[in-house]
Symmetry: C2
Subunit: 899 residues, 2 copies
């Protein structure tokens, strides 16, 4: 019983702790739903697929619950409960009508309140394909500021509900990200691995769109991974014609003012002829941008269909009157349809499609309208979301390790549902993105906090699949402490004064004047207990030495600071130097650049990375100027305009200043137009050196000069950006004077060939930080001081992405290969993991492999195949501008599988 | 076969021109609708009747068809087709839900578009009382600016549709004028005579309402006629608690922002407890203002229920959760109900109610917010509406007289439906009232014009039931003409120059420089043909003589003009003087007071009245001041603060300056607070003299000084009044420079005892003006030169209110007694009319008497009886402040009836 780990990710359903492995259920029937349910089209005509839909933000101007109930309609008129009520009625009234629904966070709330007759009616509609779920995650996640780990979780949560509730007919065939502000390649890769047949979105750079319209290149195959053998991460991708709105003049929602179809000749302003004429013109114009005799029209928008009758009554008429023209020779055929039925039409056209290999960032909707600030917006929320993900994984793992009693077991309360839902909501493209109103951001944070309250643990815990070592900083008032390891050995520790910058965040460190610093270790998927005692003798800590020239150094790095500017200079030792151990756990320099910008530079003994802890805020706005605060790292690396950013925290993408791989860029914003989202890291390199910055949250970053990296840390604005949110991004903080934010950058300067071996585990450890818990007093004699859920650490390439209880007898396990193809000579290789010998306390009695989102058996995945232009796929291999050729990834899929 | 005429009006369905009189249909069954269908209430609790309703203006900010379809939602979100769709669905979903519908103009449009399954479902709902029609006229008519004739017609049109479609279950039991801006006594009288059991409205003077709340006098019996024996014109009348809106915080329409009921404890902000508490408080507070253990709450407002689910879903919860409190001792019982079910609750309480005898004008919603300007607003539209009513009666009569071929018969096209609908729409309280937006006013005028186009006649026609004589003014360019009567006699005629004021209205008189004036006569319900020929000899007309002192005189009146001011002085000859006939059909004086105010004073030979033709406009606003233009008539009549205005053109009501009969008025607006609507006339009097001004349209008028009368003619404003219409009343006119309006006042100065004998027929003739039509060339030898549809004129007291074709074999006849009790020694007496000998060309073979609105057989009327305080009814008999006592009107009902 073993598994080969290569893709993102091997997803396994393990049967544990039961005698005998239950028979796997037979493949689910899709009698009348799915593609089989699609309405007939006319091969000799232009088929216009009307797709009735609503776009229901899981929070934006209102909170998710306000949106659900239709509360606070003074802010925005929107009530999802009524949308679903209304659509249901209208679908039942006419079997030709269709509707799609997207956001399971809302559907779940609604379903829970329905009686059995209503549930039966909905199930019938789903089974007949009249109500189709698309996308189907808990929310429509942001693509710029989300981490793949949390995205997979939120998709799994939503899709599982649909699967459990409706079976195969509830499984979405199409991914549908009509609103996110740019599109990440890793999202496409994930969607492919989740089994979607296609993907549609609405927003892309206006220049890109113009080029695609001109070249009839609005639909393509996105090859979304450098590492995976096509078509594993291939995803058919279409750009929708009108964002996600209906064509101009054809919006019949209660929120629109377009004229209804007035077909009673006895009343004024009979307009059928005019409407039909305009519609046929629009359809023919749209057909010029696309390649087949099928076109799609999105008939809906934000929170529409609260009164679905308005839409359907007019669309019924539209279809009737437009198609009636066919008897007079019209070649336009309009029908109610869905994205999957439209996709099927495209697939049946059997064309060869272009291949897209970069991503869709940054997004601009005009020459001076780049949507890149939100990569950094609300940095505190972004950090809290990231930290919450870590806790969620801990919580999930504890439920597995604690068994049936986990909710009240030795690991403390472990009800992960609340946090899972809060985290899933937080992935929404107006949540962690920072693009929501302030009160909504507060609500997301409150939900996460409530999730935390359901996940309190009583010990420190390491959710990673390998031993980790990390510094602990405890606020103390004394100056001499002893730290004991589980077996009684004394651990090196150090007391340092709390920095002035640290005090700026109220409540941080409480009233403590010092910090006790020591470096702890914890075993994989486990914990270790340390005992801290105050010593009676008290030496004052070493006081900071202001103004003097400084340097710090450990085995790997030497840092010096310019005595005049405070700017630091870092050198990496080419060979390990045998420095004398100087009884120093950490060396640190505190720098204050202004009353609202300060930094602590820390070098831990034994670390290959330098830590920059920045504190920014309150950003002053008394000068009536909004501000965006960056940190910039200048090197002599010959980066030649190239830099590299992660995609949702996983694969790295090459970026080039003032350049887009897909079209001839007319750069109009030299800064904003070169910003990209980073979720975990950014690097620049030349043949000798690579500077990698690993971050603790999602941010915006760029390289505007060769050898330079910059990361935006915080921002505060005085004007709304006129995109709907209706308030400037000016976070008030606790005292309404402006928010103070703190964060960390970890810098690693290495030869390029070694870089991934450093930054991959570093980023992994930063994403899934160990959790600390404390108790006072004497240890109970029976206290377990150390525990590991694994029999041994997993190999460095394998990341324990998910370990969570699935049902009474099953555990969901995701094993990820966390190295990209070619980036590490050692680690970019397949790895085999023996599942039988994986856990220390669980007996694995059976295993089934699933797709990435765990809503389909892997061997039942049967995605559409698409012909692409060029059988050989090329990826750039770096700033040398050489192109490597590979038709295969370093996959082990052909030689090993789950057994 | 005869009928006694006394009430307003004897309404007869005549069977004509068929052999044998068909059996009268049996009384219609009301198995499960009506009062029998009312939900059970709790005798020991406070019963809160929730009345779900929508108020659908038949035009206001949008035109009636825009409202129906939901077009121009940019102006106002409103689409009646969707309201009816949505309510139907929601009613079918739950048998406890109720809804009322009011405006048949909209329901008719909707019904016509439904399929048979929908019609069947609606019929079921009506039969079960779940959908109840209230009011049920074509529109909810204005009460200040409408003429009773047109109101009766529009009510008849709407109620007939309901009767024809749904039978007895479609007959409204309750009149419902929730929005009109003040309430006319004549409306109440009409509603009583139409068989309504009760009447509810929303708007009354704020002081009046405060007094009624204080005294628990919100519900009463309105004794609405001085002339009719109670309870013929008694109408139970209730003031609704919140206008027609729901209580604060309980509006769940899509147009409202009140919080929905959030009853899912898993979501945020569960608010059931709070909602229930607030509701019970509000119900108990409201109960303090009313007398029984039933209260009504209007759950709806303007164009609400477009998405009825929002309302019903939340009201379902409200009812469930509030009534659930009964198990804990709550004494509040909430239920879905209707106005008639609420009325039944009041009736069963068997209380004695106060009696109201004045009316509810003027309406003020604040100390400086009197709604009295609209009595005059849009004077041109008001005139056009009045003229159109006259044409409609002609058209109706012609269809009867022309028989089955009337639509293409000798009387020309006579399809009255279009004009009937246009007139019915024009009665709406934002139509003839002038309170609509300009573009909507244009639409009403356009509809009337379209109605005219369907009613073109080829001859001149007199719709009155007696011979009339009236002056004709033909635009001519010659100066000598001969006018011949049917039998060849020459008629006196006169040519006068077109006045300067006349030319101010573009197109009026075309390019003619002169007018040919002669006085014609036409027989009752008939026509007479005159032949006009131009003479070869041409004497120039008498030129006007500017600046000289002037006087004019006929048999009855002498008028002199002050040579300095132009102000005129009028004397009535105490005895007819034998003046020499001076070959003058008319004497006229043209007066120009300013470039935009002029007047022609005309005295016709043989007339008892003086005609003032006023021309006002464009009202200048270059000084940034809006203006209201009045004409004031000063006399030495000792009026002692009293004056008299008509109610909807019928009974006269006594008014008194700075006084209300019902409460102790705190007068805050000495002008606006004393204005009253007049539809046909106003007078002041003392024991010797009465000055009566008869008007050609509805206007506002007052008497602000003893002996003085003033009438507002035209108005133009620069600011919106902040009551929703959103534009100032500034009519642009054809050239956008401001509207010029012309009209006539007829003044009669008589002893009081003779006044009614003059002003009743005068007003009748002005309301139902003869219609003129012209043809050129030689008369065909077979042309009928003269015709009367009656065998003889009816007596002066009897007005032929309606003569219209009902169906193939029936004709609807309304005979009105047009004199009020005591106002004429001669004419305020019962009159008997012999129906057999009435018509000259119709054979009456049967007759059935109906209620006023012709939707119920008279002898099946069975209205609720109400106990009133005081068996003796008192009316003021005039400004002598004496009170006359009479418990009986001069009725003939006890001695004669239809036979």
């Amino acid at each position: 019983m073993a598994v080969c780990v290569d893709v993102l990710a091997v997803v396994l359903l393990l049967r544990v702790a039961v005698l005998g492995f239950p028979a796997r259920p037979p493949p689910q029937a899709e009698s009348s739903c799915g593609y089989k349910s699609c309405p007939a089209t006319q091969p000799s005509m232009l088929n216009v697929h009307l797709v009735p839909h609503t776009h229901d933000d899981v929070g934006w101007l209102k909170t998710v619950d306000q949106y659900y109930y239709g509360d606070r309609n003074d802010i925005q008129h929107a009530g999802v409960q009524y949308i679903l009520d209304s659509v249901l009625e209208q679908l039942l009234a006419d079997p030709t009508r269709r509707f799609i629904y997207v956001e399971t966070a809302f559907f779940f709330r609604w379903w829970r309140q329905q009686d059995s007759a209503t549930r039966k009616a909905v199930t019938m509609l789903v089974n007949e394909g009249r109500l189709e779920f698309v996308n189907g995650g808990w929310c429509m996640s942001d693509e710029a500021t989300t981490h793949y780990s949390a995205v997979i979780d939120q998709m799994t949560l939503g899709l599982r509900f649909l699967n459990d509730t409706f079976g195969a007919c509830g499984r979405p065939r199409v991914a549908w990200h009509i609103d996110p502000f740019g599109h990440a390649r890793e999202h496409a890769s994930m969607f492919a691995q989740m089994g979607y047949d296609g993907f549609f979105f609405g927003r892309l750079d206006y220049q890109d769109k113009a080029r695609r319209i001109r070249d009839k290149d609005m639909e393509m195959v996105w090859r979304a991974s450098e590492s995976l053998t096509p078509p594993t991460a291939d995803l058919f991708t279409g750009v929708l014609p009108n964002g996600y709105n209906p064509p101009a003049g054809f919006c019949w929602d209660q929120s629109c003012n377009d004229p209804p179809i007035r077909d009673d000749p006895n009343l004024e302003d009979y307009n059928v002829d005019n409407v039909v004429k305009r519609f046929i013109e629009i359809a023919n114009d749209q057909a010029k941008m696309y390649r087949t005799n099928h076109i799609i029209m999105t008939m809906g928008s934000d929170f529409q269909y609260e009164n679905a009758n308005l839409w359907y009554k007019n669309m019924d008429k539209l279809i009737r009157y437009v198609n009636a023209k066919q008897s007079q020779g019209s070649k336009v055929n309009v029908l109610y349809s869905t994205p999957s039925c439209y996709l099927q039409g495209l697939h049946q056209a059997n064309l060869t499609w272009s291949v897209k290999m970069d991503d869709f960032f940054p997004y601009a909707d005009g020459p001076h309208d780049f949507w890149t600030g939100y990569f950094t917006s609300r940095p505190a929320l972004k950090r809290y979301e990231r930290l919450s993900n870590s806790l969620l994984q801990v919580c999930n793992q504890l439920e597995v390790l604690g068994g049936p009693n986990s909710r009240k077991g030795p690991y403390g309360e472990g009800d992960s549902d609340t946090l899972q839902e809060a985290m899933s909501v937080a992935q929404h493209h107006d949540a962690v993105s920072g693009t929501e109103k302030q009160h909504v951001a507060n609500d997301y944070a409150k939900r996460l906090a409530r999730g935390w309250a359901h996940c309190e643990t009583l010990v420190m815990y390491n959710p990673l699949s390998r031993m980790v070592s990390w510094p602990v900083r405890l606020p103390v008032n004394g100056s001499d402490y002893m730290v004991l390891q589980p077996h009684g050995q004394v651990l090196d520790s150090q007391v340092i004064p709390v920095s002035k910058a640290t005090r700026k965040i109220r409540g941080d460190r409480g009233y403590a004047v010092n910090e006790l610093v020591f470096r702890v270790q914890a075993p994989p998927v486990g914990f270790r207990t340390y005992v801290v005692s105050q010593m009676s003798r008290q030496h004052p800590p070493v006081a900071p030495q202001p103004g003097t020239p400084l340097s710090m150094e450990n085995q790997f790095i030497r840092v010096t600071f310019d005595p005049d500017t405070g700017l630091m200079n870092t050198n990496v030792h080419q060979h390990n130097r045998h420095l004398t151990y100087c009884n120093s756990v950490v060396q640190e320099v505190q720098q204050e650049f202004s009353p609202w910008v300060s930094q602590v530079v820390r070098l831990y003994w034994g670390s290959r990375e330098l830590e920059l802890e920045w504190t920014v805020g309150p950003i002053p706005v008394e000068d009536s100027l909004g501000k965006e605060v960056i940190t910039r790292l200048d090197t002599n690396i010959n980066s030649s305009g190239y830099f590299y950013t992660d995609s949702n925290g996983r694969e790295m993408l090459e970026r080039r200043k003032d350049f887009r791989p897909t079209w001839d860029l007319k750069q109009s914003e030299p800064v904003a137009g070169n910003y990209y989202p980073i979720n975990s890291r950014i690097y620049i390199k030349d043949k000798v050196n690579q500077l990698t910055a690993v971050t603790d949250r999602s941010q915006g970053a760029s390289s505007l000069q060769d050898g330079s990296l910059e990361i935006m840390l915080h921002r505060r604005l005085l004007y709304d950006d006129v995109r709907g949110v209706g308030e400037p991004l000016s976070e008030p903080g606790d005292d309404n004077k402006g928010l103070v934010v703190r964060g960390r950058l970890l810098l690693a300067l290495t030869p390029p060939k070694d870089a991934a071996d450093i930054h991959r585990p570093l980023a992994e450890a930063l994403v899934l930080e160990p959790l600390l818990a404390f108790q006072t007093g004497e240890l109970h004699p029976n206290t377990i001081l150390e525990f590991s859920g694994l029999q041994a650490s997993l190999p460095p390439a394998v990341h324990l992405l998910t370990l969570s209880q699935w049902d009474q007898e099953s555990v969901l396990l995701r094993l990820e290969h966390q190295f990209q193809v070619t980036e590490s000579p050692t680690n970019s290789q397949p790895v085999t993991v023996n599942l039988k010998k994986l856990f220390s306390t669980l007996e694995v009695v059976g295993v089934s492999e699933m797709n990435l989102s765990a809503n389909q058996w892997k061997d039942e995945m049967n995605r559409f195949d698409w012909k692409t232009s060029g059988g050989i796929v090329t990826f750039s291999t770096g700033n040398t501008n050489e192109k490597g050729i590979f038709g295969m990834c370093q996959s082990c899929l052909h030689k090993c599988e789950v057994f």
